[in-house]
């Protein structure tokens, strides 16, 4: 399975793909957020991910290419922290920064390494947001995705297959936020009225995991 390792180029493709998906789904994210939040998740995420793509471009054009997985993920993390603006800034920032720390100074991650990094990111989001499963947050899509990725790899699946399962789990987790009562963030101010709406944060996380399934695990 040597061709399934996640190298810097693959991570770069993943982030750019995520940025494209966010841009395509900007209105959807904003619409979801307008139902239960402050109607800025689409524009905030799009601003953050555009800035991130620009930062990646700049690094390579200035002859300072990002040569390790850790460096790339940290750059992504620091850029989203400074450009998203809402609560997604520190939360996505923590996700990528912790992934970067977990990845370390290596050129490529193996399957288990990528899974461990994503789980470290999840741990960061949990610690930062203090959310529990079922609180109608990003974690409701990210936690099942991490668990599915880990379990599939442990069961002998290749990264490509495992990420496909993870993406399905993220989608299922995202859909499961609809009947939930929000307990964190601005949506929680709505109380019972938050029930019946899909969580925007879980939705963007599902995009992130689907982007990983589409770009990692097999050579283009």
């Amino acid at each position: 399975m040597t061709d399934t390792s996640v190298d810097v180029e693959a991570l770069d493709r993943w982030i750019r793909r995520f940025a494209e998906e966010v841009s395509k789904n900007k209105d959807l994210l904003t619409d979801l957020d307008s139902a239960i939040g402050d109607a800025d998740h689409g524009s905030n995420m799009d601003r953050g991910m555009s800035a991130t793509v620009a930062a990646l471009d700049e690094a390579s054009s200035q002859g300072r290419p990002l040569t390790t997985a850790g460096a790339l993920l940290k750059t992504v993390g620091m850029t989203v922290v400074s450009s998203i603006g809402g609560a997604s800034g520190p939360l996505y920032g923590t996700l990528f920064l912790r992934m970067g720390t977990s990845a370390g100074d290596v050129e490529a991650l193996d399957d288990a390494g990528f899974s461990a990094a994503l789980t470290a990111g999840l741990a960061g989001v949990v610690a930062r947001g203090k959310a529990e499963l079922g609180d109608k947050t990003m974690c409701d899509a990210l936690a099942p995705a991490c668990a599915a990725l880990d379990a599939s790899l442990a069961g002998g699946a290749g990264l490509s297959e495992a990420l496909a399962v993870a993406a399905t789990s993220a989608d299922t987790g995202r859909d499961a936020t609809i009947p939930m009562l929000a307990r964190k963030g601005r949506a929680s101010y709505l109380g019972e009225r938050s029930i019946g709406h899909q969580d925007p944060g879980a939705t963007s996380v599902a995009l992130l995991v689907n982007a990983a399934a589409a770009t990692l695990g097999s050579r283009p």
Binding site: S88, L133, C146, A151
Partner: protein, 877 residues
Amino acid sequence: MSEARPVSAAPLVGIVLVSHSAALAKAALALAGEMLHSKPVRIELAAGLDERTFGTDAVQILEAIQAADDGAGVVVLMDLGSAVLSAELALELLDDEAARERVLLCPAPMVEGLVVAAVAAAGGATRNEVCAGAVGALEGKRSQLGVAEIEPLRESGQLVAAEPGPSRESGQSVAAEPGPSLEGTFVVSNEHGLHARPAAKLVQEVRSLDAVVMLRNLSTGAGPVPASSLSRVATLGALRDHEIQVSVTGSHAREALDHVLALAGRAFDEDADSPGTPARGGRMAAGGHEPEADDSDRTEADDSEGTTPPDGPDWGTKPTSARPAAPGIGIGPVWKAGPLAALAVPDATTENAAADWRRVRRAIADVRREIRRSQALAVRDVGEGDAAIFDAHLLLLDDGDVLDDVHSRIDSGQAAAPAWATTIARVEGDFSALSDPYLRARAGDVRAVGDQVLRVLLGIPDVTAAVSGVFVASDLTPAQVAGFDAEKVKAVILAHGTPTSHGAILARGKGIPVVVGAGTSVLDIPDGTLVAVDGASGEVAVAPDDELLERFRARGRELALARITALARSSTPAVTKDGTHVVVGANLGSQEDATLAAKSGADLAGLVRTEFLFLGRSQAPDVDEQEAVYLALAETLGGRRLTLRTLDVGGDKPLDYLPMPLEANPFLGLRGLRLSLANPGLLADQLLACVRTAHATPVSLMFPMVSTVAELAEARRLLADAVVLEGRGTPPGLLVGIMVEVPATALKTEAFARHVDFFSIGTNDLTQYTLAAERGNDAVAEVADPYDPGVLRLIQTVCDGAGTALVAVCGELAADTRATSLLVGLGVRELSMTSSAIPEVKEAIRTTDLSEARHLAAQAVTAVGPEAVKALLTGHS
């Protein structure tokens, strides 16, 4: 605002303002600037993504913190939501550990906080003082609006030391309210000052007065504080011989002032045996009563710990140790059931003995209803075994000896409440004097039920449902736990108690951390004091400093992550190592249960106790109501299969609208399906509701307490009638099954198998019927062990004879991970349980190997007894 300062001056604390809006931050800074008169305080802004874009940026905050830190540290003030998250991330990004230690994220409101913080910082205050002052800024507004007592401040070691400055002004503003205003002073005569008990007495009295009472400690300058708030009174630090000023406002100011001064003159009735209070036997406290010995313990604790724990020597920096009783981390303000909830029983005589006796009977009836409700909740949370404690409580209410004693006391002149209190105190004393430790512990049950009735008689509402924060009490009763809102009660600290007490077990079922045996000194921690509890290690930190608090929080986050990961895995199916799928379902008794089941990863609802629809009402729910409730459950479960068990009651759970004969032994009487067949109208309605539901969502229908094939045939005939009546034919996904609780039924599995799609074994009842021993009866409870090889043999018989029908277990054994591989080995393919156990049981299935499990099962059914079976299981796990 970073003007140069003379180099010689000691560095001042810097301030960082984090806001979503650059304009808002600039305006707040200008406002604060007016107070500073160009004093050199560093205030850095980290606000907005740019001039126009709302948002916060952790990197910008990090740079602001570094710019503001002159060596004396930084206080960070934030507006809402992401401002807090970004500030926390900024701290994480700060590499210099020493610099990080110097940063304080301050929970004060941003605008008010900035004004006070800037002034304090300019005056050379430390960062703790700056932060405390900023938090105290809210106090002025609160007092002005007259809502001082609603929200106790977070009283960590630091914040208690808040600058009294702003609150002094607030005292004046209260005094300026319309209505007469009077002042008076008294000198504290209590040996240990105005500590918890006298303070509680004062607060209690003040709350009953129609006036606003403020106190100021003239000897120290502390205050003014509202006398209606125990946590605030504690901050006066009023010691013996301190002079306290009382300011009273309101239409009854004169009476109120006289009342408070008279109370002070009596040393706040601290001497419990002073004239006017009834004898000890007639005095009861809610969460447990302090015998004389405990009072002396507490005095000793006062001596060693000081009277105001937040200022005590070690409280804030190192945790104390208690016995762990239920795991988890809980952090919150103290909420005491102690002195405030003491039930003072007036020593009244009766004017109308017949009327008083009727009041007692009515109160008992009320409490009986309350206990049944608590029991239903407890069954849901922890299963029927541990919920059986409530049966003992119900029995006490029907105890002829108790009732006769109360009756004769009333006849001889005592009023209802003192008569009841005296009798209960006597019974409690009888139990306490027994040599058997288990029976001695039942004294607590007597007390618990006695208090419940006494509350009704005295018209004192039970505040249990309102408890929020960390509940501190002498002991914990099952009824109290049943009333707890698990979202609001962060933890429980008990001065006495054992980890195996029913209260602790019930709390564990609700996921509330508990420590016991913490010692009587915990009863003196003022209400509202912040405490942190680790229910796994037994550690308790009172008014922890930030470092200690963070240690508890970090542990809490670790646990949360572990739980999240286990939960995340629980939504995937449970398959044994060799690929056998075992369905894991939830037992439901309410709509909330369904929510919990969906969160916990239940594959289906393996048992819906439909009784919850029928109990506690004067008439049966009609078909439409039942259908609506079943459909709502299915929707909450995302369309997963519902196993609807028809009404399962008997003589022990009477219904107003269902006549039931008085039976000598209701457990061997007309119950379950037997009772339903005797009342076919009720059953016909329920079956029609089930058929309708089954046309919309997958339904399994299950009949309880079946003992003959003829009963099942009759029930199926009524079901066929319901299908015809409904008119759309047999619903496509409808499955029909029976509960196996009667040994004869297990032995006749083959005969039943032709008529059912599934069997569901109720191990609790099967165990008690097989071994002829009731688990609620302490004398034989040990005999009623579901691991008894006789019970296992019956389970095996069902699995072997079921043919193509599925065999499920929905009793408590299903939730016991020790039994998982054994049950799977016997042939069980569905386990249904209380939702909280699902993630662990799924994990247990994943580690099971079917051929090993079969081997284990073969050994278990031939073992000599339950202990041998358990030894076998632990040897294999």
